[in-house]
Amino acid sequence: MYRNQYDSEIVTFSPTGRIHQVEYAMEAVKQGGSGVALKSNKFAVVVSLKRSSSELGSYQKKLFVVDDHIGILISGLTADARVLCNYMRNESANYKYVYESDIRVERLVTKVADKSQVHTQRYGRRPYGVGLLVAGYDQLGAHIFQTCPSGNFYDYKAISIGSRSQSAKTYLEKNFEGFATCTLEQLILHGLRALRETIPNNDTGLNSKNVSIGVVGENYPFTLIEEEATLPYLNMLESDEPVEMQVN
């Protein structure tokens, strides 16, 4: 992106009707580590590629539990993501306290989006530099949403964000038609395959240290699958030939 005259303040439109600061914020999301989210009729799955700052360091957490029926994958500024995650947890817990039932996923995502929008219209405040992939299950079924620093949110069947996510999107576009009837296992494998596309060739590949998986579904509270628990799926990935679409 090139420097423009109209990009130094959030409160200034450009002559073409864009707010550059918001777009720059979305750049932060694109630079983040990649993640893939996809859903079937009964489950929503998020798969993430964790990064570490060096060999000495640990891998940055990317998946967070928001409530029993909702989890998120973050891409971008982790600190901003934590704030939004806490906000989502509080709103979800508050709703549960008042109404004794789970908040609908779209409703929570709308709240996050509305909160993000405020930061695109107030002088002195910057947008949140993080995009969330929200995976949830409520009375209306499984959901995947993406939120943006701009305050927009989108409902998806499958999506990926972060660096090199276009390759993952290509895989998802080719295969998404069969997702609805996939078993949980197949869904996770699809997610891992899509994620694998985002790794640059010179890198190590998917292993139990840099992959984490989150699953939520019917009678299945949001659960994180990390470290050793990911091994069965990674092994299946190794031994698998390209997509045998089994309908259950």
Binding site: R89, A93, Y97
Partner: protein, 236 residues
């Protein structure tokens, strides 16, 4: 001449409205809860009768015991409206703690947290008489007993509620072995014997206390988790 005159009934008093008094925010729904801790288990009993504060029964099937974690339950007598509000508050905080700290809140931590929560409302208390029973981090059975504003103590047995005065002497004598003329030696009592004893204790409370009866929940907490059993008491 003094004439005995009948004065007319003062009309002013007739027109004065009845003195309703202040709004009374508390009611005691009655009932008894008790608990005995063993070496690596806890047994809790709570009757399920809810009264209206007088001679009426609002329901026979309202449980006074609430499970907080896989290792801890809270049993409460007193005003059930406050009990429900308190349980909801605890649950939210427990979930919050779990997400923040990545682990389930330990029973001693819950015990302290309940005390703080109760004291927070020192000047408009929860009308609740609580009992926390569970397994601590070492796997030992433990019980904390509370007053309405959070004063608490870790004990090996306790009871609360309308039948408290009937049950507590029994527990003193049989569990702590106080005041026994022919003292028995200390022995490790097996779980099923303790359950049996607890059932006897709550049955006895039901016999003499009008607010205790109908059914009782018998809850056992041990390393395998929390097990519930329903036990019948007298309906009178």
């Amino acid at each position: 001449m003094n004439v005995l005159k009948l004065t007319p009934f003062p009309t002013q008093d007739k027109e004065k409205p009845l003195n309703h008094g202040r709004f009374e925010p508390y009611v005691d729904n009655g009932g008894t809860v008790l608990s005995v801790a063993g070496k690596d288990y806890c047994v809790v009993a709570g009757d399920t009768r809810m009264s209206d504060g007088g001679y009426g029964i609002q329901t026979r099937k309202y449980t006074k015991i609430f499970q907080l974690t896989n290792k801890c339950v809270i049993a409460t007598s007193g005003m059930q409206a406050d009990t429900l509000a308190l349980q909801k508050k605890l649950k939210v905080m427990l979930d919050h703690y779990q997400k923040e700290n990545g682990k389930v809140m330990s029973t001693p931590a819950i015990a302290q947290f309940l005390s703080n929560t109760l004291y927070y409302k020192r000047f408009f208390p929860y009308y609740t008489f609580n009992l926390i029973a569970g397994i601590d981090e070492e796997g030992e059975g433990c019980i904390w007993t509370y007053d309405a504003v959070g004063s608490h103590e870790k004990v090996k047995y306790s009871s609360q509620g309308s039948g408290n005065q009937l049950v507590i002497p029994l527990l003193d004598n049989q569990v702590a072995k106080f005041n026994q003329l022919l003292p028995e030696g200390p022995k490790d009592v097996p779980l099923d014997q303790v359950v049996s004893f607890v059932k006897d204790a709550i049955t006895s409370a039901g016999e003499r206390d009008i607010y205790t009866g109908d059914y009782a929940d018998i809850v056992v907490i041990d390393k395998h988790g929390v097990r519930w059993e329903k036990f019948e008491l007298k309906l009178d």
